[in-house]
Symmetry: C2
Subunit: 149 residues, 2 copies
């Protein structure tokens, strides 16, 4: 993919990632390292939890989403965000196939730094039923191709 500079982006532009299927072993492996709670570790115990069955940590969904964004949104200089609003409308379950659709919402050239700007994008992580498992709306720094106004 050709790297994209601020000038190459337009409001409403969309990027779609490849699909990625999550299995129970991956859910448990992430949980053991970063979110060791029973409903992410043990399918039987998870039945009695709010989730009603094994569910991926939201941070696992977020981590997988980042992988898919890195592969599908070819920003020059890389995908570098300072944060944003994050929501998990429903959990990722074993066997779910995720894909990420990213849309450019705002583009703002920097007033003080002619070599860069910021964008706001919304990355929606969908499961195989087109239901969102995560919505993240970050602000990112993006390089400009030409300096100066």
């Amino acid at each position: 993919m050709e790297p994209l500079y601020l000038e190459d982006l337009s409001i409403g532009q969309k990027f779609t990632s490849r699909p990625h299927t999550v299995d129970a072993e991956a859910i448990k492996a992430y949980a053991r390292e970063f979110d060791p709670q029973l409903f992410h570790l043990d399918g039987e115990a998870a039945k009695k939890s709010l989730f009603g069955g094994l569910a991926a940590s939201g941070w696992h969904t977020a981590s997988l989403t980042m992988r898919l964004i890195v592969e599908s949104v070819p920003l020059a200089g890389g995908v570098i965000g300072s944060g944003g609003e994050l929501s998990w409308p429903r959990p990722t379950k074993p066997g779910d196939t995720l894909r990420v659709v990213t849309e450019v919402l705002e583009i703002t050239p920097s007033r003080s730094r002619p070599d860069r700007g910021t964008i706001v994008m919304r990355s929606t992580t969908l499961n195989q039923n087109d239901e969102p498992v995560q919505v993240f709306t970050p602000k990112l720094v993006v390089q400009r191709r030409q300096a100066g106004a």
Copy 2:
């Protein structure tokens, strides 16, 4: 730790995690799996990036933060969030020692479900210089000890 129910929480209540030191190998291992960009993978290449040196993925900081929250905020039923505002004021660097300070900001019993409520908390992840590397302000579901009004 005794599990805490909604009735046990108070506005302004704070929880502090143990410290956790992040090394370059852990930064690269996370990045290989979830955020394979050069500035998270290669210290030399990272010098030319916006970060000026090897930096952890923000999602790695978030994942480590979750681990420290799970260990330090003993909510009955577990730490189950639906999302919130997430920001990374600065990156986690190799050798940084992180700890997470969590403060309860809002407590709202459910009107329709007497067995639960929601809280808003703010988890600030600090490095060894007391500088925030992440601030996350999630809404969580918390169990009530007694049902009914």
